[in-house]
Subunit: 340 residues, 4 copies
């Protein structure tokens, strides 16, 4: 069996695992006050080109979104995001559980448009009853999006501009950031770091056992964040585990290599499907590839490969998703394609 | 100047006010444990035909929605409502502030459809990732709706049926219930009480100074509700003020008379506009009437009458709203129509 | 029967009621944007001597405490208060329901001491684990206290000083403020307004039907407060009802007169009890009087007067409480005393 | 340097780490729906002697307490615990952030007494104003306590009895459960499982990298717990990491061995201190040992050993804490004792 269900099905990249084993017996202080976490912070800020920025290491994506958004929003504020945004659909209502409304805007191939954001805020500002409404208090996007697509530099700059215009922060969910960076020559990690206010570098789906690094070039946006992390039950006692992993990912270009490998595999997979005449459900340049397959083809493919239907099974043909990661091999792809 | 802005612009109906004055000097115990509140409960349950039901008196509509919905939903549950529902648009995020998502469904002339509810729940149930999503835990509708429209008996029965099918409660926001009951021969107060699980009889907009009566034929749905009301800051110290008002409204058919008067005025207003060739923005049978007027007509009318634009001013003509209540007089209508 | 249970047993002072009746038929805009509310704001700021301050009118005490404290505290902050504070004991957990811990400190005749506050904050600041703890973020006191006692000017100044030292706000719950001001030559309304950051002038227990006026000399402490009031379900649709009442209370010295009357009655009551040899449970100068009475005396007194035991009935004698207000008459006192 | 600061300073026990490495490259489904988690559940239920029970694997202690308590309490309920309980002191207000009050009761060597619980509930039940108060809705204790002490069977049975009497659940925080079980012949894991309603088996401090296993013999107490875990941001994507670790801990008696080793080291340490004439701050039978040391002795000891002051440094002598775990060696103890 070959596996393309998701990018959280295997453990950590061997180099990450190696560092965890190597450091396992060392004694360090807890709660992320250790030297590994300090080093990870330094490496990340360097890689992002924001030496005066700040980094916090958390455990998972839903948790990270919940804590960051809870910090960035005032009472009565909502977070603008696409209807299909992870926070709007797949986080069990975590944002609302912390008291905030997700203000769902239209999506265009998984992306939010600057114009829609501006229109929403203008309507709010023009509304005589606005004090009875939820105030649009920040923007959430993901890079790559849930559909594997990427914002262009121009699109992201436009969103940054509208946020700046209205003085609200832009937050990027980078659960799969490695793949976004590897897929696209246009935006680098430094670009991401400077184009938004807060973002997170996904570890869980990009080669770590678990862990996400919240990064900001504006530390004043996250006051008292340590206590807030603790209050949300998101502070790891053996915090150095996060530090060790992010050191491994950022010390020697590993994060970049992981991204590039998964993208290379994804491109092979995509080309193979297209060569065999299948049409993409959406044109994704990243490690998630979506195709529309006849149901009987899905059934036969399921005998050799594990992957997800994208939505409910339709009558004749159904969109499916294939995800690559650090563990995907050329052989996996060959096996999959040969079964098409 | 004549006033048609809303139904909360004047004080209480004189009969209500009279009872408040008359009882002002009496000593009673606090927090709604008094005899007036007991009597109001009895009168309301009698009028609703549910002697084994329960009644709680609260202060205002947003507060009532927040407390009831907080009680009816479990963690992780959301409330289904139309996109235009008061709880989704005009309550400053009160539902989310208590931890719950509003699951916005399409509206049809302000109304929610049983089929849309069923489809939403089915999609949720069929979704493999449903445990990562917000569970649809109850249905919220308003009667009349925000647009003044009314559910037919058949529409309401269909919603009750789908709720029953999936074991979730149906809650009706009756902020303007008096006008819904007076406008429509099809549904009585008893019908409302039996067709939903919990509803509230609006006082604020229907002749009281303030106050809403939460009614349920299933008291087990609102366990420990007294303490929850207190916890939400919604428990009135001089609770008998609510009791006295609802006694006045329900002792002698006053609630019905108030509804009928406002509807009579609304019909006169509507006929007058139609006779003069204006077309309704929506065909409302209740005390809110919506017309599309040329902007210059709006400007001239504003010199004699106070009323609201319904949405932002458009280029040439704009929808406007006229609201009647117990205080609207034949003269008010005549003045308005003569200025058309 | 004569009534001394509490100060929320009767309706509004006749002058307040008169104004409500007089203005009942007027049309005004809703939600406190009316001229009566504006006038009330002006009168209150004038009476407080803080023309650049701000006033917000809410409905009840628990609600007011919840909304103000929710606004003043950051995530992870707690509110310091005495163990016996209303917010710690009798608000059904409303403060916690909004996410904040009540940090209970010792009480001394119902009062909080500056030294205890300072010691608590110092311990917190000196604690290496403080980022894992709840930060003391504000001080809550009531004036008068739950036990009817009053802070001296020196005590209040000392608390203000420690709050200033650590940059945290001091909030005063003035549910019974009228009685505190009338009882004591030392502190005026202006003193209160300048010695704390935010306080509320109690209406419900001091002559209004309902209503509390939040006052601050530092409006920047309560940003976006209107929307927060709405979000908490605490915004009255017919907001002018609060404006009319506070206009009545502050236009012609009525608030002061109500306080003085109740205090005069309380002093008569107190003197009468002492003259008959009963000893106070606590020496209160305000409208709540506490005496320790033999149980058989309590039983016989209960036949002519209504009042509360202060805590559970003890074996032989039990503390009881008598409360006066605007409606207490010389005859009531005479009846009570003659039955001793 | 030898380390006695805490039991979260090193990584996982080598056998746990070995299993993580060994399984690192396997593909499994996410979110704890994998076979390792299923196996861990089975092993734990077997070890606890409650085959019909249920197990949930979470990431850390504060998080686990927050999620479990949020599930067990209704609105308006509080959790009874000692003043020194972890949830009351060292979780940044996480319980309150979820809306619940910690009802702090006296502690006796770190322990809660059944009599204090009963008295508290009785007072609540007897209080006429109880509906205005926070209802005592559950009991939280830790085993071992924060001070390393252990409840006797009789003490625990008495608490279970009072909980049963009033129909409220008893929850045990077992962050250091391995050490409690190893120290004491009186109570086994099966005893713990049957004497409380819900408890957690601490992994983080007892040999795992991270992870806590929530166990209940009454699964109906934790309905829809998966979604609640997700909502709290506590659901690990690569959930099998927890499963693998708990399999390692429970497959071959490792959890027991880890406990026994740490206790053996603690006893050596304790005997050594006592032999040299130092007196314990508290008589702890578990892996936390507390002694009162002269300040100059603390200073000299700090040159070879790392450990924590227990509270602020006093004038002449100060209580300090030494903690052992799986990584503590005979040599560490020898080094420490030889420096005394």
């Amino acid at each position: 069996m070959v596996y393309f269900d998701s990018d959280y099905m295997v453990g950590a990249h061997p180099e990450v695992m190696h560092r965890l084993v190597e450091t396992n017996g060392l004694h360090t202080v807890g709660y992320g006050c250790d030297e590994f976490t300090a080093k990870a912070r330094e490496l990340i800020l360097q890689a992002c080109g924001i030496p005066a920025g700040e980094v916090y290491l958390l455990e998972g994506g839903t948790q990270t979104n919940a804590v960051v958004i809870d910090r960035l929003l005032d009472h009565n504020d909502g977070v603008m995001a696409t209807e299909t945004a992870h926070i709007n659909v797949h986080e069990s209502g975590a944002i609302e559980a912390n008291g905030h409304k997700v203000l769902a805007l239209p999506e265009h191939e998984g992306k939010l448009r600057a114009d829609d954001i501006r229109a929403y805020i203008r309507d709010y500002n023009d509304d005589d009853t606005r004090l009875h409404k939820v105030r649009p208090g920040m923007v959430y996007i993901s890079y790559p999006t849930e559909l594997g697509t990427l914002y262009t530099r121009r699109e992201l700059e436009a969103i940054k501009e509208v946020c700046g215009e209205y003085g609200i922060p832009l937050y990027i969910d980078g659960a799969r950031l490695a793949y976004g960076l590897a897929a696209n020559g246009e935006l680098t990690l430094r670009d991401i770091a400077s184009l938004c206010d807060v973002f997170y570098i996904g570890g869980t789906k990009c080669g770590a056992l678990f862990g996400e690094a919240v990064v900001t070039r504006r530390p004043e946006l996250l006051p008292r964040f340590f206590s807030l992390i603790k209050l949300h039950g998101a502070l790891l006692a053996k915090g150095r585990l996060l530090g060790v992993q992010f050191c491994a990912l950022f010390a020697d270009g590993l994060y970049e290599r992981i991204g590039k490998h998964a993208i290379a595999m994804a491109i092979k997979l995509k080309s193979g499907f297209i060569a065999k005449g299948y049409r993409p459900f959406i044109d994704s340049p990243t490690n998630q590839q979506f195709f529309i397959l006849p149901n009987e083809k899905i059934d036969s493919l399921k005998e050799v490969a594990s992957f997800e239907l994208w939505g409910p099974r339709c009558e004749k043909e159904t969109p499916v998703r294939f995800v690559t990661d650090w563990a995907t091999t050329e052989e996996d792809i060959a096996t999959l394609l040969s079964s098409l």
